[in-house]
Point group: C2
Chain length 266, copies 2
Protein backbone atom coordinates (compact mmCIF):
# COMPACT_ATOMS: atom_id res chain seq x y z
CA UNK A 1 0.00 0.00 0.00
CA UNK A 2 1.22 3.49 -0.87
CA UNK A 3 0.58 6.63 1.11
CA UNK A 4 -2.97 7.91 1.75
CA UNK A 5 -3.29 11.65 1.16
CA UNK A 6 -6.25 13.82 2.15
CA UNK A 7 -7.16 16.73 -0.12
CA UNK A 8 -9.57 19.37 1.09
CA UNK A 9 -11.38 22.25 -0.60
CA UNK A 10 -14.60 24.15 0.02
CA UNK A 11 -15.80 22.90 -3.35
CA UNK A 12 -14.57 21.70 -6.73
CA UNK A 13 -11.54 23.91 -7.39
CA UNK A 14 -9.18 21.70 -5.40
CA UNK A 15 -9.77 18.98 -7.97
CA UNK A 16 -7.35 20.89 -10.24
CA UNK A 17 -4.72 20.13 -7.59
CA UNK A 18 -5.75 16.46 -7.46
CA UNK A 19 -5.59 16.37 -11.26
CA UNK A 20 -1.92 17.40 -11.11
CA UNK A 21 -1.18 15.05 -8.21
CA UNK A 22 -2.51 11.81 -9.72
CA UNK A 23 0.15 11.35 -12.43
CA UNK A 24 2.99 12.57 -10.15
CA UNK A 25 2.39 10.13 -7.29
CA UNK A 26 2.03 6.52 -8.45
CA UNK A 27 0.57 4.18 -5.86
CA UNK A 28 -0.89 6.94 -3.69
CA UNK A 29 -4.53 6.85 -2.57
CA UNK A 30 -6.37 10.17 -2.30
CA UNK A 31 -9.38 11.06 -0.18
CA UNK A 32 -10.87 14.29 -1.54
CA UNK A 33 -13.37 16.25 0.54
CA UNK A 34 -15.36 19.09 -1.01
CA UNK A 35 -17.32 20.96 1.67
CA UNK A 36 -19.91 21.96 -0.92
CA UNK A 37 -22.73 22.44 1.60
CA UNK A 38 -20.87 25.36 3.15
CA UNK A 39 -19.17 26.97 0.14
CA UNK A 40 -18.14 29.62 -0.63
CA UNK A 41 -15.80 30.11 2.30
CA UNK A 42 -14.76 33.51 0.92
CA UNK A 43 -17.76 35.36 2.34
CA UNK A 44 -17.34 33.92 5.84
CA UNK A 45 -15.40 35.12 8.87
CA UNK A 46 -11.95 33.79 9.78
CA UNK A 47 -13.38 32.03 12.85
CA UNK A 48 -16.02 30.23 10.80
CA UNK A 49 -13.56 29.26 8.04
CA UNK A 50 -11.09 27.89 10.60
CA UNK A 51 -13.82 25.85 12.29
CA UNK A 52 -15.03 24.36 9.00
CA UNK A 53 -11.49 23.62 7.80
CA UNK A 54 -10.53 21.96 11.10
CA UNK A 55 -13.61 19.71 10.94
CA UNK A 56 -12.67 18.65 7.43
CA UNK A 57 -9.01 18.10 8.31
CA UNK A 58 -9.97 15.91 11.27
CA UNK A 59 -12.33 13.88 9.07
CA UNK A 60 -9.56 13.23 6.55
CA UNK A 61 -7.09 12.24 9.27
CA UNK A 62 -9.69 9.90 10.79
CA UNK A 63 -10.10 8.27 7.36
CA UNK A 64 -6.39 7.44 7.35
CA UNK A 65 -4.79 10.44 5.62
CA UNK A 66 -1.04 10.54 6.34
CA UNK A 67 -0.60 13.94 4.67
CA UNK A 68 -3.11 16.74 4.13
CA UNK A 69 -3.32 19.09 1.19
CA UNK A 70 -5.39 22.22 1.81
CA UNK A 71 -6.34 22.76 -1.83
CA UNK A 72 -8.38 25.84 -0.97
CA UNK A 73 -6.90 29.32 -1.14
CA UNK A 74 -9.27 30.78 1.44
CA UNK A 75 -8.47 28.14 4.05
CA UNK A 76 -4.76 28.28 3.16
CA UNK A 77 -4.84 32.06 3.63
CA UNK A 78 -6.85 32.13 6.86
CA UNK A 79 -6.68 28.83 8.74
CA UNK A 80 -3.33 27.05 8.25
CA UNK A 81 -2.27 27.51 11.88
CA UNK A 82 -5.56 26.14 13.24
CA UNK A 83 -5.49 23.19 10.82
CA UNK A 84 -1.87 22.30 11.65
CA UNK A 85 -2.63 22.44 15.39
CA UNK A 86 -5.67 20.18 15.00
CA UNK A 87 -4.03 17.16 13.30
CA UNK A 88 -0.91 15.02 13.77
CA UNK A 89 0.07 14.73 10.10
CA UNK A 90 1.92 17.19 7.85
CA UNK A 91 -0.25 19.80 6.13
CA UNK A 92 0.54 21.58 2.87
CA UNK A 93 -1.44 24.60 1.65
CA UNK A 94 -1.60 26.07 -1.85
CA UNK A 95 0.00 29.45 -1.20
CA UNK A 96 3.56 28.61 -0.11
CA UNK A 97 4.24 26.26 -3.07
CA UNK A 98 3.27 28.77 -5.76
CA UNK A 99 5.13 31.61 -4.05
CA UNK A 100 8.18 29.33 -3.77
CA UNK A 101 7.90 28.46 -7.45
CA UNK A 102 7.72 32.15 -8.37
CA UNK A 103 10.70 32.92 -6.15
CA UNK A 104 12.90 30.23 -7.68
CA UNK A 105 12.08 31.31 -11.23
CA UNK A 106 12.03 35.10 -10.68
CA UNK A 107 13.96 36.09 -7.53
CA UNK A 108 13.41 39.71 -6.42
CA UNK A 109 10.72 40.19 -9.05
CA UNK A 110 7.45 42.07 -9.16
CA UNK A 111 4.59 39.57 -9.34
CA UNK A 112 0.85 39.88 -9.84
CA UNK A 113 -1.53 37.62 -7.89
CA UNK A 114 -5.01 36.97 -9.31
CA UNK A 115 -7.45 35.68 -6.68
CA UNK A 116 -10.93 35.93 -5.21
CA UNK A 117 -11.91 38.97 -3.13
CA UNK A 118 -11.54 37.04 0.13
CA UNK A 119 -8.02 35.86 -0.67
CA UNK A 120 -6.97 39.35 -1.75
CA UNK A 121 -8.45 40.90 1.40
CA UNK A 122 -6.44 38.47 3.53
CA UNK A 123 -3.19 39.70 1.87
CA UNK A 124 -1.79 36.21 2.50
CA UNK A 125 -0.04 36.19 -0.89
CA UNK A 126 1.51 39.61 -0.34
CA UNK A 127 2.87 38.50 3.04
CA UNK A 128 4.28 35.22 1.74
CA UNK A 129 5.78 36.99 -1.27
CA UNK A 130 7.40 39.63 0.94
CA UNK A 131 8.99 36.82 2.95
CA UNK A 132 10.71 35.70 -0.28
CA UNK A 133 11.67 39.17 -1.43
CA UNK A 134 8.95 39.31 -4.09
CA UNK A 135 6.84 42.46 -4.48
CA UNK A 136 3.25 41.32 -5.02
CA UNK A 137 0.31 43.24 -6.41
CA UNK A 138 -2.99 41.51 -5.67
CA UNK A 139 -6.00 41.78 -7.99
CA UNK A 140 -9.46 40.52 -6.98
CA UNK A 141 -11.24 38.83 -9.92
CA UNK A 142 -14.66 37.83 -8.51
CA UNK A 143 -16.23 36.99 -11.89
CA UNK A 144 -13.70 34.33 -12.87
CA UNK A 145 -15.03 31.55 -10.62
CA UNK A 146 -18.64 31.88 -11.90
CA UNK A 147 -17.38 32.04 -15.50
CA UNK A 148 -15.40 28.82 -15.01
CA UNK A 149 -18.38 27.17 -13.29
CA UNK A 150 -20.60 28.25 -16.23
CA UNK A 151 -18.13 26.38 -18.46
CA UNK A 152 -17.24 29.53 -20.44
CA UNK A 153 -13.50 28.80 -20.39
CA UNK A 154 -13.04 29.69 -24.09
CA UNK A 155 -15.83 32.28 -24.32
CA UNK A 156 -15.32 35.80 -25.65
CA UNK A 157 -17.04 37.14 -22.50
CA UNK A 158 -14.34 35.52 -20.36
CA UNK A 159 -11.67 37.16 -22.54
CA UNK A 160 -13.49 40.51 -22.16
CA UNK A 161 -13.61 40.13 -18.37
CA UNK A 162 -9.93 39.15 -18.27
CA UNK A 163 -9.09 42.20 -20.39
CA UNK A 164 -10.86 44.47 -17.84
CA UNK A 165 -9.19 42.88 -14.81
CA UNK A 166 -5.70 42.56 -16.31
CA UNK A 167 -5.70 46.05 -17.85
CA UNK A 168 -6.59 47.47 -14.42
CA UNK A 169 -3.88 45.39 -12.73
CA UNK A 170 -1.17 46.21 -15.30
CA UNK A 171 -1.62 49.96 -14.87
CA UNK A 172 -0.32 49.47 -11.31
CA UNK A 173 2.56 47.02 -11.94
CA UNK A 174 4.76 45.35 -14.58
CA UNK A 175 5.01 41.80 -13.26
CA UNK A 176 7.49 39.13 -14.32
CA UNK A 177 5.10 36.42 -13.12
CA UNK A 178 1.34 36.12 -12.69
CA UNK A 179 0.37 33.78 -9.86
CA UNK A 180 -3.02 32.04 -10.14
CA UNK A 181 -4.24 32.34 -6.55
CA UNK A 182 -7.44 30.35 -6.98
CA UNK A 183 -7.81 26.67 -7.80
CA UNK A 184 -10.47 27.46 -10.41
CA UNK A 185 -8.09 29.50 -12.53
CA UNK A 186 -5.96 26.70 -14.06
CA UNK A 187 -8.94 25.99 -16.33
CA UNK A 188 -8.56 29.44 -17.90
CA UNK A 189 -4.75 29.65 -17.75
CA UNK A 190 -4.51 29.67 -21.60
CA UNK A 191 -6.98 32.59 -21.79
CA UNK A 192 -5.05 34.44 -19.08
CA UNK A 193 -1.77 33.93 -20.97
CA UNK A 194 -3.33 35.03 -24.26
CA UNK A 195 -4.77 38.18 -22.66
CA UNK A 196 -1.40 39.04 -21.09
CA UNK A 197 0.23 38.68 -24.53
CA UNK A 198 -2.42 40.93 -26.05
CA UNK A 199 -1.72 43.56 -23.39
CA UNK A 200 2.04 43.39 -24.15
CA UNK A 201 2.93 41.77 -20.82
CA UNK A 202 5.69 39.15 -20.96
CA UNK A 203 4.74 37.74 -17.53
CA UNK A 204 4.93 34.00 -16.99
CA UNK A 205 1.73 32.38 -15.63
CA UNK A 206 2.42 30.20 -12.58
CA UNK A 207 -0.30 27.84 -11.55
CA UNK A 208 -0.86 27.03 -7.87
CA UNK A 209 -2.33 23.59 -8.64
CA UNK A 210 0.80 22.47 -10.49
CA UNK A 211 3.15 24.08 -7.95
CA UNK A 212 1.34 22.46 -5.03
CA UNK A 213 1.37 19.02 -6.65
CA UNK A 214 5.14 19.26 -7.19
CA UNK A 215 5.63 20.31 -3.55
CA UNK A 216 3.61 17.31 -2.36
CA UNK A 217 5.51 14.93 -4.63
CA UNK A 218 8.78 16.13 -3.09
CA UNK A 219 7.45 15.98 0.47
CA UNK A 220 6.20 12.40 0.23
CA UNK A 221 9.37 11.21 -1.55
CA UNK A 222 11.16 12.02 1.71
CA UNK A 223 8.77 10.07 3.92
CA UNK A 224 7.37 7.28 1.73
CA UNK A 225 9.15 4.96 -0.73
CA UNK A 226 7.68 5.09 -4.24
CA UNK A 227 4.87 2.62 -4.91
CA UNK A 228 3.91 1.08 -8.19
CA UNK A 229 0.55 1.36 -9.92
CA UNK A 230 -1.87 4.15 -10.69
CA UNK A 231 -2.89 6.56 -8.00
CA UNK A 232 -6.52 6.10 -6.87
CA UNK A 233 -9.06 8.47 -5.32
CA UNK A 234 -12.36 8.59 -3.45
CA UNK A 235 -14.42 11.80 -3.34
CA UNK A 236 -16.69 13.01 -0.54
CA UNK A 237 -19.01 16.02 -0.78
CA UNK A 238 -21.17 17.60 1.92
CA UNK A 239 -24.04 18.34 -0.48
CA UNK A 240 -25.39 17.29 -3.89
CA UNK A 241 -23.16 14.41 -4.95
CA UNK A 242 -24.64 14.55 -8.46
CA UNK A 243 -23.56 18.16 -8.95
CA UNK A 244 -20.15 17.31 -7.51
CA UNK A 245 -19.66 14.44 -9.94
CA UNK A 246 -20.87 16.50 -12.91
CA UNK A 247 -19.10 19.82 -12.33
CA UNK A 248 -16.11 18.20 -10.63
CA UNK A 249 -15.27 16.03 -13.61
CA UNK A 250 -14.52 19.21 -15.59
CA UNK A 251 -11.98 20.24 -12.95
CA UNK A 252 -10.46 16.78 -12.55
CA UNK A 253 -10.36 16.11 -16.30
CA UNK A 254 -11.86 12.65 -15.85
CA UNK A 255 -15.12 11.13 -14.60
CA UNK A 256 -15.67 10.97 -10.84
CA UNK A 257 -17.35 7.69 -9.88
CA UNK A 258 -19.30 7.12 -6.66
CA UNK A 259 -19.11 10.41 -4.76
CA UNK A 260 -20.08 9.80 -1.13
CA UNK A 261 -22.31 12.20 0.78
CA UNK A 262 -20.89 13.37 4.09
CA UNK A 263 -22.64 15.28 6.87
CA UNK A 264 -20.32 17.57 8.82
CA UNK A 265 -23.32 19.33 10.41
CA UNK A 266 -24.19 22.98 10.03
CA UNK B 1 -47.47 51.15 16.31
CA UNK B 2 -47.85 49.77 12.79
CA UNK B 3 -47.32 46.19 11.75
CA UNK B 4 -43.95 44.45 12.15
CA UNK B 5 -42.95 42.48 9.04
CA UNK B 6 -40.09 40.01 8.81
CA UNK B 7 -38.20 39.78 5.51
CA UNK B 8 -35.86 36.87 4.89
CA UNK B 9 -33.28 36.12 2.21
CA UNK B 10 -30.11 34.04 2.04
CA UNK B 11 -28.22 37.26 1.33
CA UNK B 12 -28.66 40.76 -0.07
CA UNK B 13 -31.06 40.24 -2.97
CA UNK B 14 -34.16 40.41 -0.79
CA UNK B 15 -33.28 44.03 -0.07
CA UNK B 16 -34.71 44.83 -3.53
CA UNK B 17 -38.05 43.62 -2.12
CA UNK B 18 -37.60 45.72 1.03
CA UNK B 19 -36.75 48.70 -1.20
CA UNK B 20 -40.14 48.37 -2.92
CA UNK B 21 -41.96 47.74 0.37
CA UNK B 22 -40.73 50.78 2.32
CA UNK B 23 -42.61 53.49 0.34
CA UNK B 24 -45.74 51.29 -0.04
CA UNK B 25 -46.30 50.61 3.66
CA UNK B 26 -46.15 53.74 5.82
CA UNK B 27 -45.81 53.05 9.52
CA UNK B 28 -44.59 49.47 9.11
CA UNK B 29 -41.46 48.25 10.85
CA UNK B 30 -39.30 45.70 9.00
CA UNK B 31 -36.88 43.15 10.41
CA UNK B 32 -34.63 41.96 7.57
CA UNK B 33 -32.53 38.82 8.00
CA UNK B 34 -29.81 37.96 5.48
CA UNK B 35 -28.41 34.48 6.19
CA UNK B 36 -25.10 35.50 4.63
CA UNK B 37 -23.03 32.93 6.53
CA UNK B 38 -24.81 30.13 4.70
CA UNK B 39 -25.38 31.62 1.24
CA UNK B 40 -25.79 30.65 -1.51
CA UNK B 41 -28.75 28.40 -0.81
CA UNK B 42 -28.89 27.42 -4.50
CA UNK B 43 -26.17 24.79 -4.23
CA UNK B 44 -27.71 23.08 -1.20
CA UNK B 45 -30.21 20.24 -0.89
CA UNK B 46 -33.93 20.80 -0.31
CA UNK B 47 -33.65 19.40 3.23
CA UNK B 48 -30.83 21.78 4.14
CA UNK B 49 -32.56 24.81 2.57
CA UNK B 50 -35.79 24.04 4.42
CA UNK B 51 -33.93 23.69 7.73
CA UNK B 52 -32.11 27.01 7.27
CA UNK B 53 -35.26 28.83 6.14
CA UNK B 54 -37.29 27.49 9.06
CA UNK B 55 -34.62 28.64 11.54
CA UNK B 56 -34.72 32.11 10.02
CA UNK B 57 -38.53 32.24 9.93
CA UNK B 58 -38.72 31.26 13.60
CA UNK B 59 -36.16 33.92 14.51
CA UNK B 60 -38.21 36.61 12.75
CA UNK B 61 -41.44 35.46 14.41
CA UNK B 62 -39.72 35.46 17.82
CA UNK B 63 -38.62 39.07 17.17
CA UNK B 64 -42.26 40.05 16.73
CA UNK B 65 -42.91 39.68 13.01
CA UNK B 66 -46.66 39.50 12.30
CA UNK B 67 -46.16 38.68 8.60
CA UNK B 68 -43.21 37.01 6.88
CA UNK B 69 -41.88 37.74 3.42
CA UNK B 70 -39.63 35.03 1.97
CA UNK B 71 -37.68 37.35 -0.30
CA UNK B 72 -35.53 34.49 -1.56
CA UNK B 73 -36.40 32.60 -4.72
CA UNK B 74 -34.64 29.41 -3.67
CA UNK B 75 -36.48 29.19 -0.34
CA UNK B 76 -39.75 30.24 -2.01
CA UNK B 77 -39.27 27.46 -4.57
CA UNK B 78 -38.21 24.71 -2.20
CA UNK B 79 -39.35 25.39 1.37
CA UNK B 80 -42.67 27.29 1.50
CA UNK B 81 -44.59 24.37 2.99
CA UNK B 82 -42.03 23.80 5.74
CA UNK B 83 -41.84 27.52 6.54
CA UNK B 84 -45.63 27.89 6.70
CA UNK B 85 -45.89 24.86 8.99
CA UNK B 86 -43.22 26.22 11.36
CA UNK B 87 -44.75 29.62 12.19
CA UNK B 88 -48.15 31.00 13.23
CA UNK B 89 -48.14 34.12 11.00
CA UNK B 90 -48.94 34.49 7.30
CA UNK B 91 -46.04 33.89 4.92
CA UNK B 92 -45.67 35.36 1.41
CA UNK B 93 -43.03 34.12 -1.03
CA UNK B 94 -41.72 35.84 -4.15
CA UNK B 95 -42.95 33.40 -6.79
CA UNK B 96 -46.75 33.55 -6.49
CA UNK B 97 -46.94 37.39 -6.65
CA UNK B 98 -44.92 37.73 -9.86
CA UNK B 99 -46.76 34.85 -11.52
CA UNK B 100 -50.07 36.46 -10.49
CA UNK B 101 -48.93 39.80 -11.90
CA UNK B 102 -47.99 38.14 -15.20
CA UNK B 103 -51.32 36.31 -15.32
CA UNK B 104 -53.36 39.47 -14.78
CA UNK B 105 -51.46 41.38 -17.47
CA UNK B 106 -51.03 38.56 -19.99
CA UNK B 107 -53.58 35.76 -19.44
CA UNK B 108 -52.86 32.54 -21.38
CA UNK B 109 -49.53 33.94 -22.54
CA UNK B 110 -46.13 32.41 -23.14
CA UNK B 111 -43.71 33.78 -20.55
CA UNK B 112 -39.96 33.51 -20.03
CA UNK B 113 -38.55 33.16 -16.51
CA UNK B 114 -34.94 34.22 -15.87
CA UNK B 115 -33.52 32.74 -12.67
CA UNK B 116 -30.58 31.02 -11.02
CA UNK B 117 -29.78 27.38 -11.82
CA UNK B 118 -31.28 26.16 -8.55
CA UNK B 119 -34.58 27.96 -9.11
CA UNK B 120 -34.80 26.69 -12.68
CA UNK B 121 -34.03 23.13 -11.60
CA UNK B 122 -36.87 23.28 -9.07
CA UNK B 123 -39.32 24.18 -11.90
CA UNK B 124 -41.31 26.09 -9.26
CA UNK B 125 -42.05 28.90 -11.71
CA UNK B 126 -43.20 26.51 -14.42
CA UNK B 127 -45.56 24.80 -11.96
CA UNK B 128 -47.01 28.06 -10.63
CA UNK B 129 -47.38 29.40 -14.18
CA UNK B 130 -49.14 26.23 -15.32
CA UNK B 131 -51.61 26.69 -12.45
CA UNK B 132 -52.51 30.09 -13.97
CA UNK B 133 -52.64 28.87 -17.57
CA UNK B 134 -49.30 30.47 -18.46
CA UNK B 135 -46.75 28.51 -20.52
CA UNK B 136 -43.36 29.21 -18.96
CA UNK B 137 -39.90 28.69 -20.41
CA UNK B 138 -37.22 28.81 -17.75
CA UNK B 139 -33.69 30.03 -18.46
CA UNK B 140 -30.86 29.64 -15.95
CA UNK B 141 -28.60 32.72 -15.89
CA UNK B 142 -25.87 31.85 -13.35
CA UNK B 143 -23.55 34.76 -14.24
CA UNK B 144 -26.05 37.52 -13.50
CA UNK B 145 -25.79 37.39 -9.70
CA UNK B 146 -21.97 37.69 -9.69
CA UNK B 147 -22.14 40.50 -12.28
CA UNK B 148 -24.62 42.43 -10.09
CA UNK B 149 -22.48 41.78 -6.99
CA UNK B 150 -19.41 43.05 -8.90
CA UNK B 151 -21.41 46.25 -9.51
CA UNK B 152 -21.26 45.88 -13.31
CA UNK B 153 -24.94 46.77 -13.77
CA UNK B 154 -24.24 49.09 -16.74
CA UNK B 155 -21.17 47.26 -18.05
CA UNK B 156 -20.80 46.11 -21.66
CA UNK B 157 -19.85 42.65 -20.35
CA UNK B 158 -23.23 42.39 -18.63
CA UNK B 159 -24.95 43.35 -21.90
CA UNK B 160 -22.88 40.71 -23.72
CA UNK B 161 -23.84 38.05 -21.17
CA UNK B 162 -27.52 39.06 -21.40
CA UNK B 163 -27.31 38.85 -25.20
CA UNK B 164 -26.02 35.25 -24.93
CA UNK B 165 -28.65 34.16 -22.41
CA UNK B 166 -31.62 35.95 -24.03
CA UNK B 167 -30.70 34.90 -27.57
CA UNK B 168 -30.59 31.26 -26.40
CA UNK B 169 -33.92 31.64 -24.60
CA UNK B 170 -35.68 33.42 -27.48
CA UNK B 171 -34.83 30.65 -29.95
CA UNK B 172 -37.11 28.41 -27.86
CA UNK B 173 -40.03 30.79 -27.16
CA UNK B 174 -41.64 34.14 -28.05
CA UNK B 175 -42.73 35.41 -24.65
CA UNK B 176 -45.17 38.23 -23.92
CA UNK B 177 -43.62 38.73 -20.51
CA UNK B 178 -40.18 38.12 -18.98
CA UNK B 179 -40.35 37.33 -15.25
CA UNK B 180 -37.30 38.22 -13.17
CA UNK B 181 -37.07 35.14 -10.95
CA UNK B 182 -34.18 36.33 -8.78
CA UNK B 183 -34.12 39.25 -6.35
CA UNK B 184 -30.75 40.41 -7.74
CA UNK B 185 -32.16 41.03 -11.21
CA UNK B 186 -34.17 44.24 -10.57
CA UNK B 187 -30.81 46.05 -10.52
CA UNK B 188 -30.25 45.10 -14.18
CA UNK B 189 -33.89 45.33 -15.31
CA UNK B 190 -33.08 48.28 -17.64
CA UNK B 191 -30.27 46.27 -19.29
CA UNK B 192 -32.59 43.27 -19.66
CA UNK B 193 -35.28 45.46 -21.28
CA UNK B 194 -32.74 47.07 -23.62
CA UNK B 195 -31.36 43.67 -24.67
CA UNK B 196 -34.88 42.35 -25.36
CA UNK B 197 -35.55 45.40 -27.55
CA UNK B 198 -32.28 44.82 -29.40
CA UNK B 199 -33.32 41.19 -30.05
CA UNK B 200 -36.71 42.36 -31.40
CA UNK B 201 -38.70 40.97 -28.48
CA UNK B 202 -41.65 43.07 -27.36
CA UNK B 203 -41.89 41.23 -23.99
CA UNK B 204 -42.72 43.20 -20.86
CA UNK B 205 -40.28 42.79 -17.96
CA UNK B 206 -42.07 41.92 -14.70
CA UNK B 207 -40.09 42.30 -11.55
CA UNK B 208 -40.66 39.92 -8.61
CA UNK B 209 -39.54 42.52 -6.05
CA UNK B 210 -42.17 45.02 -7.16
CA UNK B 211 -44.88 42.35 -7.55
CA UNK B 212 -44.16 40.93 -4.11
CA UNK B 213 -44.25 44.35 -2.45
CA UNK B 214 -47.65 45.06 -3.99
CA UNK B 215 -48.96 41.68 -2.79
CA UNK B 216 -47.77 42.42 0.76
CA UNK B 217 -49.32 45.90 0.69
CA UNK B 218 -52.67 44.35 -0.23
CA UNK B 219 -52.38 41.57 2.35
CA UNK B 220 -51.64 43.87 5.28
CA UNK B 221 -54.35 46.36 4.26
CA UNK B 222 -56.79 43.56 5.05
CA UNK B 223 -55.38 42.84 8.50
CA UNK B 224 -53.89 46.12 9.72
CA UNK B 225 -55.25 49.69 9.54
CA UNK B 226 -52.91 52.12 7.79
CA UNK B 227 -50.40 53.85 10.08
CA UNK B 228 -48.81 57.22 9.61
CA UNK B 229 -45.10 57.94 9.30
CA UNK B 230 -42.19 56.48 7.38
CA UNK B 231 -41.58 52.75 7.43
CA UNK B 232 -38.51 51.75 9.44
CA UNK B 233 -36.16 48.77 9.27
CA UNK B 234 -33.51 46.86 11.20
CA UNK B 235 -31.12 44.47 9.39
CA UNK B 236 -29.53 41.28 10.74
CA UNK B 237 -26.83 39.27 8.97
CA UNK B 238 -25.29 35.95 9.96
CA UNK B 239 -21.77 36.95 8.80
CA UNK B 240 -19.73 40.07 7.97
CA UNK B 241 -21.99 42.98 8.92
CA UNK B 242 -19.60 45.39 7.15
CA UNK B 243 -19.99 43.60 3.83
CA UNK B 244 -23.75 43.45 4.37
CA UNK B 245 -23.97 47.20 4.97
CA UNK B 246 -21.73 48.00 2.00
CA UNK B 247 -23.11 45.66 -0.66
CA UNK B 248 -26.64 45.75 0.73
CA UNK B 249 -26.94 49.52 0.38
CA UNK B 250 -26.68 49.10 -3.41
CA UNK B 251 -29.66 46.74 -3.34
CA UNK B 252 -31.69 48.83 -0.90
CA UNK B 253 -30.87 52.12 -2.63
CA UNK B 254 -30.07 53.80 0.68
CA UNK B 255 -27.50 53.41 3.48
CA UNK B 256 -28.02 50.58 5.96
CA UNK B 257 -27.15 51.71 9.48
CA UNK B 258 -26.24 49.38 12.36
CA UNK B 259 -26.46 45.87 10.93
CA UNK B 260 -26.59 43.37 13.79
CA UNK B 261 -24.65 40.11 13.71
CA UNK B 262 -26.74 37.03 14.36
CA UNK B 263 -25.55 33.47 15.05
CA UNK B 264 -27.96 30.81 13.78
CA UNK B 265 -25.31 28.08 14.19
CA UNK B 266 -23.90 26.00 11.36
Amino acid sequence: MGITIGVFDSGFGGLTVLRELLPLTPGAHYIYLGDTARLPYGSKSQTTIARYAVESARFLQARGAEHLVIACNTASALAMREIRESVEVPVTGVIEPVVDAAYHRHPNADVLVLATSATVQSHAYRLHCAGRGLRASEKACPLLVPLVEEGWVDHTVTRDVLRVYLREALTACSPEAVLLGCTHYPLIAPAIKATLDELDSRAEVIDSARATAIAIERAIQLSHPASAGRATFQCYATDSTEKFAHLGSQFLGQPIPAVELLDLGG
